[in-house]
Symmetry: C2
Subunit: 220 residues, 2 copies
Amino acid sequence: MATDTKARILDAAESLFADHGFPATSLRDITQEAGVNLAAVNYHFGSKEALLISVLERKIAPVNRTRLAQLEALETAAGADPVPTEDLVRAFLTPLFETWGKHGQGLPKFMKLVGRIHAEVDQDVRTKFIKQFDTVLQRFSAAFHRGLPHLDAIEVQWRVLFLVGSMAHTMTWGGSIVTMDGQVCHDPEEIFEALIQFSTAGMGAPVLQPVAVASRRGAR
Amino acid sequence: MATDTKARILDAAESLFADHGFPATSLRDITQEAGVNLAAVNYHFGSKEALLISVLERKIAPVNRTRLAQLEALETAAGADPVPTEDLVRAFLTPLFETWGKHGQGLPKFMKLVGRIHAEVDQDVRTKFIKQFDTVLQRFSAAFHRGLPHLDAIEVQWRVLFLVGSMAHTMTWGGSIVTMDGQVCHDPEEIFEALIQFSTAGMGAPVLQPVAVASRRGAR
DNA sequence: GAATAATTCAAACGTTCATTTGAATCATAC
DNA sequence: GTATGATTCAAATGAACGTTTGAATTATTC
């Protein structure tokens, strides 16, 4: 079955890319984990890099589409008013975490992959795939700015960068969070809500007065 | 000159690890960039992985030491009172950004490296080096919790994770931020202050009421 | 300046990598 | 049931990898 082979490769690649990253994962690792022949990857996908693109397309493209759809729904509902910041944060983060529940098996591999993609992928792969993601960022940045008109456009972009960073890092390392007394938390819902609280507050943070900046610098 | 060779290797490795990541950078890339013989890396450092450790030690270990020193100074000054959240955020972020000014040349490579380290490095390298960083995280988490007693300990840890994520992502990608009208911002001071505002507000975000969580979930 | 140690060097080591090849196997349609 | 196309397979290709080697070179010590 051709479909089965392709899907097994995609699953194995997703899992291994998530755990060890793209450069450190070999096609032999992938095909062995998938239980298929080594040549199958190049037969079905053309190259290792094309496989990565396919892995990303399969899981992340729908997430970005949902993000944009939710954003448009929010803007339509808000009419002339700006969409509340927290609603925007939720529209940005929810589609990612909802894919979680659909798979269910423990800590989802593809979330770690998402985290890695934002930090690890080389510039050319990034530009090849991430154009779609950049569109999402631009649209959300504009929407955030509408609700935070006192901020510079560039300041909004930074805050969106910070938001993405929190999200990506949580994807990668959220599974290995350990409390001081040795307990591990695996509940995605709780981390998700905590991230939303953190991000919403961060996005809406007050602007620092320049004079205050100077006086506070290098606090000790 | 032995010292010179070692330093040139460290500089080249720092730059290339930052640009392309650890697995994607070969010793041949490094030695060519450094203008030294291929065997010099194994002679002076023992292995590629040991070279990475050395690169990290040279730049990041002092940062973590400064962080802990600033934290202790803050706690001493505060006495029985908890240290203000913003002061803790600054004590955590300032040492990293200050290394910036010391080097000056454009966007510092080692900052990108720092960003990558938090997302890319394999588990064993991470555990080998990051133990020191984990200590820093634990100490700061405890200090944050003292000023945010209404939060669970685990919630504080999450927020510190978010903070680290914002920081790491900014290190890696902050240099490629572009405004909607095509302008690029390279001023580290501004990004730094924006990050502090974002993180301070995020760390001190209110806790969501459980009932409110349920009603808001899946907002559209 | 001879002896000793430290460093550099070109070359090779064995391994692993992504990719290709061509025959074998499978499914499908006539 | 034979022909056709799609897929799988074992094997090989050539390149790149980290590392090692032993001689050549440089620096240090007496």
